[in-house]
């Protein structure tokens, strides 16, 4: 008997409970004179189904969360003394070994006798656990069914109870979302702390050298590692600024054209086409940047007598700008379109031309939305990795020259964590610190954007 089968059975019972509950309350109403049902009959059905499935499902879910810890604890305590004296890291390895043997992932190796015993023990415990949880789940399901059945009567406020349950579910969902965020930020902060114990905060934030190569073995001749954040930050900034110089004018002007000048037919074609741009994977933009735009920029530059690296911030920034155009144009088009027609008519009625109307009435009214769109685009640009990695390179040059190769925070995070890494060297830990700083920067941008939007928001009614 497997827990999943039991769960299916309980679910079926819950469905049955739904119909039974509905019918029961109707039947009860029929037996009394002038009695009336508080809620719609289906609420009694839901009430019964929820009683049937929720406690059972909760207990079973809880079991699957805690099962590994319990079983591993039990297996370990049954193993010989020598194993129990091991360090935590070694024990993790032993447990992984046991699990591999237990699930047949260990290939043709033959286990040690002690391990073999543990594997048998593990199997046994696992099976017992499954039995227990199945039986407990089944009992809870049936018990819930019975409780629901007993409690149903026409005076019971089933709608209120079912809806309260729905509220609880929503609260749980939002709690999960919030906790996930908190957890991610927490792990960033925690790992960054570890990094800062190995490398001074001040040197990280204000250092102008970035070369994360560290010696892995003591006898290795390698660079000592320098983790100065500044070159990465200027790289990100440079590329983002270039991208914005491309994306904001193109996006905004095309949005204005589409919302106020284009015929509805053209708009209905052009807008989806522009949005297709947003659907192109960034890696495709990346090789477009690396293979087409970067050589073009280099050749054009050398034709003008400029010294342009074959991987340049300009190429990456321009392509990134094009990638962002649909965000700006689509969002800005929506907000411009949302400016009430009555405002436009008011301006026309005073004798404004179309461009005066747009510049002096429509755009100011749409400004909060446009700012929000641009801020969103900036966050996208700062977070973008692939295009920069392919088109701008990995060289952490501290420069504002758009023709030089630069690198960005995100690209460095990616390259730090690609491949086999040990997770306690400053090199890998620095990725978390970079992530943390990046997070703080985007957070500040969002706060600024929110403040701008709130300051200039106008109500039309």
């Amino acid at each position: 008997m497997s827990p999943s089968l039991v769960f299916l059975a309980i679910a079926a019972l819950a469905v049955f409970g739904f119909f039974l509950g509905r019918r029961r309350v109707l039947a009860m109403e029929g037996t009394r004179i002038r009695a009336s049902i508080h809620s719609l009959p289906s609420y009694y059905g839901y009430y019964m189904a929820l009683w049937c499935i929720v406690p059972a499902a909760a207990v079973m879910a809880l079991w699957f969360v805690v099962e590994p810890t319990i079983i591993e604890g039990l297996v370990l305590s049954a193993m010989p003394e020598s194993y129990r004296a091991m360090s935590a890291n070694q024990l993790t390895l032993v447990m992984a070994d046991i699990r591999n043997f237990a699930y047949g992932n260990a290939g043709t190796r033959t286990p040690d006798p002690a391990i073999a015993d543990a594997v048998r023990n593990y199997h046994g415990l696992h099976e017992t656990g499954a039995w227990i949880v199945s039986i407990v789940g089944a009992c809870l399901g049936v018990a819930g069914f019975a409780i629901g059945f007993w409690r149903i009567n026409p005076q019971m406020r089933a709608r209120n109870r079912v809806e309260r349950f729905a509220i609880v579910v929503m609260i749980i969902a939002s709690t999960i979302a919030v906790l996930t965020t908190v957890g991610i930020v927490g792990s960033l902060v925690f790992e960054s702390m570890r990094f800062f114990t190995k490398y001074p905060v001040f040197d990280f934030l204000f250092g102008t050298q970035w070369s994360p190569q560290t010696a892995i073995r003591a006898d290795q001749v390698g660079s000592s590692g320098a983790f100065g954040f500044i070159p990465l930050f200027t790289g990100s900034l440079l590329i983002t600024v270039i991208a914005m110089f491309v994306a904001v004018p193109i996006g905004l002007l095309s949005a204005i054209y589409m919302s106020d000048y284009a015929s509805p037919r053209l708009r209905s074609v052009a807008k989806p086409v522009l949005e297709v741009l947003a659907g192109i994977p960034t890696v495709v933009y990346g090789f477009f940047a690396a293979l087409t735009v970067a050589p073009f920029v280099r050749d054009a530059g050398s034709a003008m007598g400029l010294d342009v690296a074959s991987e340049s911030a300009l190429a990456a920034g321009v392509v990134m700008g094009i990638m962002i155009v649909p965000f700006v144009s689509s969002l800005a088009d929506d907000v411009i379109h949302a400016v009430p027609q009555s405002l436009r008519h008011g301006a026309y009625g005073l004798g404004s031309t179309k461009s005066e109307t747009i510049r002096q009435v429509v755009l100011p009214a749409a400004l909060p939305g446009i700012v929000a769109a641009v801020m969103l685009a900036i966050s996208r640009a700062i977070g973008e990795t692939m295009i920069v990695a392919m088109a701008a390179g990995l060289a952490a040059n501290l420069t504002f020259n758009p023709f030089a190769a630069v690198t960005t925070v995100t690209v460095q995070i990616a390259s730090l964590l690609v491949g086999d890494q040990e997770f306690d060297s400053p090199k890998t830990l620095s990725a978390f610190a970079l992530g943390l700083v990046l997070f703080v920067i985007t957070l500040c941008l969002n706060i600024i954007a929110l403040a701008v939007v709130r300051k200039y928001r106008e109500k039309y009614d």
């Binding site: 026309y348 009625g349 005073l350 004798g351 404004s352 009435v361 009214a365 039309y460």
Partner: protein, 269 residues
């Protein structure tokens, strides 16, 4: 009772003469293929309030919008016939629609102040038409317009607050101030009181009567009492036709057409 009121109010202005300010000849308007107006002939006399009344969908707002070419901005709207402003056809290709709208201003059904300060709302028109050169001139125009719209006392200490922060009636008077700031000759009003409460309505009606001395006004209204109170001439529209036009007193006491009679006595509409 109402009729005698308007008659006595109209009498002094007879001195202005009955010069025709705007003249519509055989005006027809089509939305796509649907005809909304049927050969309308109507004279609008200078320094008078002309009220356009009629049941919903009768074409009175459409007609009003032909008078400053606001229908131009509506897709699929087509117009035939002639409208003269001081003997000049406003649909002539040589006419600049921007200048036309500076001469024939408009106030809309729902107050639609721009999301700018009160001051900038009023200054907007004079600025785009280059009527003001200095800060002082702008200040003067803003003050004069707000005074004429009867709003100056209420807002003079808060000129730099948003126009949308005013109450509905104040917003509508702000829109009137905005319209008169460009010093138009004709003001078109499309049900200017339909979104307002009775007190705000009374203020606007009073204002309309005052504005008549300086401007020619055409007002679309759903309220027959309003037409009787503020207008000197009334035109009754029905199903795209101009059924009857005449002195307000005559229309409301002794209409020639049976349909007018039916509408003003509330039998339909």
């Amino acid at each position: 009772m109402l009729a005698t009121d308007t008659q006595t109010a109209a009498a002094p202005h007879a001195a202005h003469g009955k010069r025709v300010k705007m003249k519509a000849t055989e005006v027809e308007v089509y939305y796509s293929e649907k005809r909304a107006l049927n050969k309308i002939n109507l004279d609008v006399r200078e320094h008078e309030v002309t009220a356009l009344i009629g049941p919903s969908g009768c074409g009175k707002s459409t007609f009003l919008r032909t008078m400053n070419r606001m229908n131009d901005v509506i897709d699929g709207c087509r117009m035939a016939g002639k409208i003269l402003l001081d003997q000049q056809d406003i649909y002539d290709p040589n006419i600049d629609v921007v200048q036309l709208r500076a001469r024939v201003g408009m106030v809309f059904q729902k107050p639609n102040p721009f999301p700018k300060s009160i001051y900038d709302n009023v200054a907007y028109g004079p600025r785009i038409h280059g009527l003001v050169r200095s800060r002082e001139e702008t200040d003067a125009v803003v003050q004069k317009s707000l005074e004429r719209a009867g709003l100056w006392k209420e807002v003079k200490d808060r000129l730099h607050e948003g126009g949308t922060s005013l109450s509905g009636g104040q917003q509508q008077r702000l829109c009137i101030a905005r319209a008169i700031a460009v010093d138009p000759e004709v003001i078109l009003m499309d049900e200017p009181c339909s979104a307002l409460d009775p007190i705000a309505t009374a203020k606007i009606e009073e204002l309309i009567d005052e504005l008549r001395t300086n401007y020619t006004i055409v007002i679309v209204t759903h309220s027959m009492q309003q037409a009787a109170r503020v207008s000197q001439r009334t035109a009754f529209f029905h199903l795209g036709d101009l059924v009857e036009v005449g002195d307000t007193a005559q229309i409301f006491t002794n209409p020639n057409d049976e349909r007018t009679q039916g509408y003003i006595t509330g039998r339909f509409g």
